[in-house]
Symmetry: C2
Subunit: 90 residues, 2 copies
DNA sequence: CATGACCCGTATATTAATACCGGTATAAGA
DNA sequence: TCTTATACCGGTATTAATATACGGGTCATG
């Protein structure tokens, strides 16, 4: 076995994660946030839409910094499918 | 251009990051921490030795949880080459 | 000597990050 | 109304890199 494909659960976690980032982005545009984080807009879009379910740590860290959210809060929020309704909304 | 190879700076950042994790591991063995985080020992070793300079966010999150360190502290520590001497040593 | 812990090299399938092209929808302007 | 611009989404393509596994090597400790 060499790197088992991602499980549906992991993909769902990626979708939750992307939804969190998109919510944290608020009114700002993708290109604005992506530029602030130093990543391409395509990458941000992929992560937000869940098409990149397991993004790089430093990419996420840069995005979190640009969005002003905590990495620990992000990890905790997408680890718990329930109770993340108002998470990171501030 | 399709995914520029990692710059030497990014690789150095990976080495700093790995050193931080190794310091946070303390006396515990690699297999112990890797099992607790749900990743393979090879993966943990690669990250610690800097041979995996840009690990996945969720892999790092699982390791940080197993080590009891903060993701924000990790990101901040490896982003600043100076002043991380006693970081995460507690 | 044996065991445990770590390291290194190699191998492999899957994925990340980037880019380009086109499509859709909405809003502003002539 | 027609056009333009902005913003997002989808597919495809390409290289680099992850995550995993195996075999062997080293070094200390028992």
């Amino acid at each position: 076995m060499v790197r088992t494909p991602l499980s549906p659960e992991e993909r769902r976690r990626g979708e939750r994660f992307g939804a969190l980032l998109r919510r944290a982005r608020g009114e700002r545009s993708m290109v604005e946030v992506a530029a602030a984080a130093g990543v391409s807009a395509e990458t941000l879009r992929k992560i937000e839409t869940g098409r990149a379910p397991t993004p790089s740590f430093f990419t996420v860290a840069a995005l979190a910094a640009a969005l002003g959210v905590s990495l620990d809060a992000l990890a905790a929020a997408c680890a718990e499918p329930e109770g993340d309704d108002q998470a990171l909304s501030a």
